[in-house]
Symmetry: C2
Subunit: 704 residues, 2 copies
Amino acid sequence: MTALWLIVLCGVLSIVYAIWATSSVLKADAGSPRMQEIAGAVREGAQAYLRRQYTTIGLVGIVIFVVVAYLLGIYVAIGFAIGAILSGAAGFIGMNVSVRANVRTAQAATTSLAGGLELAFKAGAITGLLVAGLALLGVTLYFGFLVYSLKLAPDSRTVVDAMVALGFGASLISIFARLGGGIFTKGADVGGDLVGKVEAGIPEDDPRNPATIADNVGDNVGDCAGMAADLFETYAVTAVATMVLAAIFFAKTQILTSMMTLPLAIGGICIITSIIGTFFVKLGASQSIMGALYKGLIATGVLSLVGIAGVIYYLIGFGKLEGADFTGMALFECGVVGLLVTALIIWITEYYTGTDYRPVKSIAAASVTGHGTNVIQGLAISMEATALPAIVIIAGILVTYSLAGLFGIAIATATMLALAGMIVALDAFGPVTDNAGGIAEMAGLPKEVRKSTDALDAVGNTTKAVTKGYAIGSAGLGALVLFAAYNQDLKFFIANKNAYFAGVNPDFSLNNPYVVVGLLFGGLLPYLFGAMGMTAVGRAAGAIVEEVRRQFREKPGIMQGTDKPDYGKAVDLLTRAAIKEMIIPSLLPVLSPIVVYFLIYAIAGGGAAGKSAAFSAVGAMLLGVIVTGLFVAISMTSGGGAWDNAKKYIEDGHYGGKGSDAHKSAVTGDTVGDPYKDTAGPAVNPMIKITNIVALLLLAILAH
Amino acid sequence: MTALWLIVLCGVLSIVYAIWATSSVLKADAGSPRMQEIAGAVREGAQAYLRRQYTTIGLVGIVIFVVVAYLLGIYVAIGFAIGAILSGAAGFIGMNVSVRANVRTAQAATTSLAGGLELAFKAGAITGLLVAGLALLGVTLYFGFLVYSLKLAPDSRTVVDAMVALGFGASLISIFARLGGGIFTKGADVGGDLVGKVEAGIPEDDPRNPATIADNVGDNVGDCAGMAADLFETYAVTAVATMVLAAIFFAKTQILTSMMTLPLAIGGICIITSIIGTFFVKLGASQSIMGALYKGLIATGVLSLVGIAGVIYYLIGFGKLEGADFTGMALFECGVVGLLVTALIIWITEYYTGTDYRPVKSIAAASVTGHGTNVIQGLAISMEATALPAIVIIAGILVTYSLAGLFGIAIATATMLALAGMIVALDAFGPVTDNAGGIAEMAGLPKEVRKSTDALDAVGNTTKAVTKGYAIGSAGLGALVLFAAYNQDLKFFIANKNAYFAGVNPDFSLNNPYVVVGLLFGGLLPYLFGAMGMTAVGRAAGAIVEEVRRQFREKPGIMQGTDKPDYGKAVDLLTRAAIKEMIIPSLLPVLSPIVVYFLIYAIAGGGAAGKSAAFSAVGAMLLGVIVTGLFVAISMTSGGGAWDNAKKYIEDGHYGGKGSDAHKSAVTGDTVGDPYKDTAGPAVNPMIKITNIVALLLLAILAH
């Protein structure tokens, strides 16, 4: 009980930090009236988009709430609502800070790079800490309410189902937000670049381009709000899955509650270390932005090591644990592995997407011989970039399993995600600086300001790729945990002689053709989903190209600067496109487990044998979707980041610099990388989680 | 015994057909001296390349032969040699016909499209029937020799190991040939296009381009010889795996030999139906080339249905089978499913790569807005193109398993591959017409000739994608068969109390972390392998660009037509590059099972537990490599074909036709698609097979 209140306190601390940081951001100079006017347009567009997105999701959410309440009871439905509302809130608040920090960052960058970094990072940290804090509060408070106020057993079905539903609510928001936001932002970016940079020959963010405001709106709704919802969901689902496993493994022991509390406690302490870490982000004498971010990250990592040791010692001690064949010390070591996996994935992603290393340089070099070789090399790097992260994840699974079995893997994954506050902070400052650059350009600020914001933006490309690699990496490391949650649930229903599960005997062996079928079907989901996302961006971008061409044609004054483009029209067009396009791909992972279950059930002849076959196939599907999803997501996010930075590398004066043929080829690569890294790739992670969560809910519903 | 001789007779028939068809091709008019001079240069280049490639592979092969002979005995080593030599021979002979048919096809096309098609298809059919015939002869004769001359039991270890080694020999050639040939052909194609079409502004196959001859050489060594080795290997490995399964399932029954002979007999009868089918390929009144090919294919398919029914009735009858719970009729139905899967994959591939349907048209439409949107749409289509084939394969597994269990899946896969003679014929005519077009261009033949060869070539893009989809599809359908061969072998050694396998108890359940690790590691192989292939093409193309630029610089007369380019230099450069680049990626699948085995053995603490963990991980790896490999390969081969034909669609006069901006974008997409569809994508299939075969050999070696 005390532990839970302490964890809640940590969550509250994150909100206090967010309030303090917000007021400190808002106090900063908001720049000239022209800058404020531009920022105002971006803010309005972003808010209008998010209102419509949340309204649409809200309608879907209400339907699901009613269905869940009817099928699984009101407490489970309330869990769903909590997950959905808090996930949406994290994104919404973060974005609202972001659209106010952008103009202030531009203004601060007029004085110094350090000033710009400080403001932008503080804005990012607000989103980061809210994501971690709200997720932790939601899970902890609702768990505490069910267990202590309603006096339900912590491992009772209602508690487990309610926690799973909380994860489902978060996932549902996150897939819509990732996809909708991703389609919006990349539709604007790709369409705007094509018609502006390529056709009209005007620079990026030129105020004469009617798609400019939409592009800046996109940074906020996609990279900020979408990402926040995604990480909220990953955080919540991992915590929930670890709690479910603890409930099963330590059922009927004295330490049940402590073990269920452990992932939350690790999350709590890491919020504190993340808050401390943010104060270490300071530009040093070397003016290295990445160096400044690393200082914060390393501080958080080292403090977390100490903090987690303390939490484990306080909750369960370092000795042998009741009902388990491993010690508290082994669990601490698993936590260390979780931190190491995070560090290695960050380092590998920086290698593959940073301008200082072979991969990005090789894409830049390949740009000299044309568009085709740039894209070929980019695709090659994107595929290569999957190997080392996969090996790190494999090593992580092997080591933590040998230390403390499946629960060890779960603790490592939970620890990995406990750093989400800091990692999201690293990511969420990207859209702020990207916007600041746009505002600087549009408001005609001096070139040096743009240089500062560009430097911040290049680092942002890497940190954005890092967060995505980190999110999907946690899914890979946690693959067994998610599968185990399904498998253990299934075992529970069979052991408890639930009527529906009578005679069911699932076989998850690779010998079973239903398992192979499940693996293949799961494997196909990320591909089909990715194809839908890419096509949607292509369509949205095409619509923007038509719209901008129309405006240029009908108002020839725009290019002379005598007439103003209609920014709102482009924003509106994209809003409608993104909302429409996000629905079908989002339903793919929601419906797939259900369809596969009933299809295989029918094909295998129904009855207990049909059920066994169907449960086996759905289980295998959960792993299949991770096996290909991991590679699809990492290749897309790292490859896209590498393409973007290869362009920046050339713009820095290599291979002929801006305007050279190599630069034109690099712009093509950057365009291709856009939907890769910001639409299809990052949406794979919530897709995997949804598939898993829906499978768990399906079990609960069938048992009812 | 009689059955075996009849099967041998079918194999001999394919050779008789090849001899007849070769003499008929050689009798055709070889065109003007200028044409013969060009064709001579292509022939010399192709032969020189293949000599060096086979010399290099020969060295690797001798080492492996000695190692296998030492570890597993001379009969197993001889099996390896037979597989390697025949696989190489199929490619070598096919290519030698191809380099003589090209110029004759160009000459025939001067008279009529029908004449060109007839000659080119006949040349392709020679390769096709030699692939099927030699593979069938190799497996049948060596099996017959071991069983009837040496009096070994058909299910004895020596026979099984020798058959597996035969598959390994074939696989080894095929991965080198696919990769080496693929790097050569696409290095020449991409490099030649970049420097010729894009920089110098001269058309494809212009004789002033020093890379032109190399490009035509590449068509032969990559698309003809490489593809032949690949299909030979797929055919042999599938037949062997089915025989191994039969040896296990029907051990100690009266029908053991009949069941082991069944896949060979199906292969034999389908050689006859394929030969008959070739005579149905005739251009109808509609002048539809695809229609003509379909006539041949449908004739072969329908006749095969009848033939397979006859074979099954003759060998085992339609009634219940001894020692099994299914009937001969059920096996016939599995054969029908195999034919249906083939038909559906062909139809789906045509949909995704043909110029008449939405996918290719959507890429062409996306070309209007630029290079970036062309590539984005192409990538989206490439990913989407995996979904339907995967679903067809899933359905095939489900249906055949419910009909006759695992052996039913094996028979369906064997039937699918029995059509290889016809399918390869459809593919191998592509490089001939591609070359014919090149020769027509270089020899300055009238425009109409080029139009005929271009029409043949566009269909060639689809049939090439079809063959690759078919090869990888058979790997997907046969995934369980390949895994079962491994699993059953393992069970055999454990049951026979082999010293090394004492206490070993592999667990292939998805609950086992070693299984998840194996799936992830297997999943990473196609990605890493694809990255290596793409990078190698980029490097080779870059070298060609430099070389061509050098020649243009040093001999300014080339562009004026007063000086001759040094074609041989480009061929030589690519030969060295391809041979060098093919080694490391080819070793990846050879070494991976071995490395994974010993690494996991060590990590899991050695001893029987370590062995159990390692065998589980290696087994899972075999499925992991198929799960991602299927999607990587289909997306690459279909996507590449779609890009190529989108360019052809625009060249046919849509969206501004040749020279328009849309065309320039489409050329970029085509360039990107080149290494996708002709290097990395098709090499995934032999890679999967090698991983599987090496795992089987590893078991045999550990047991010794």
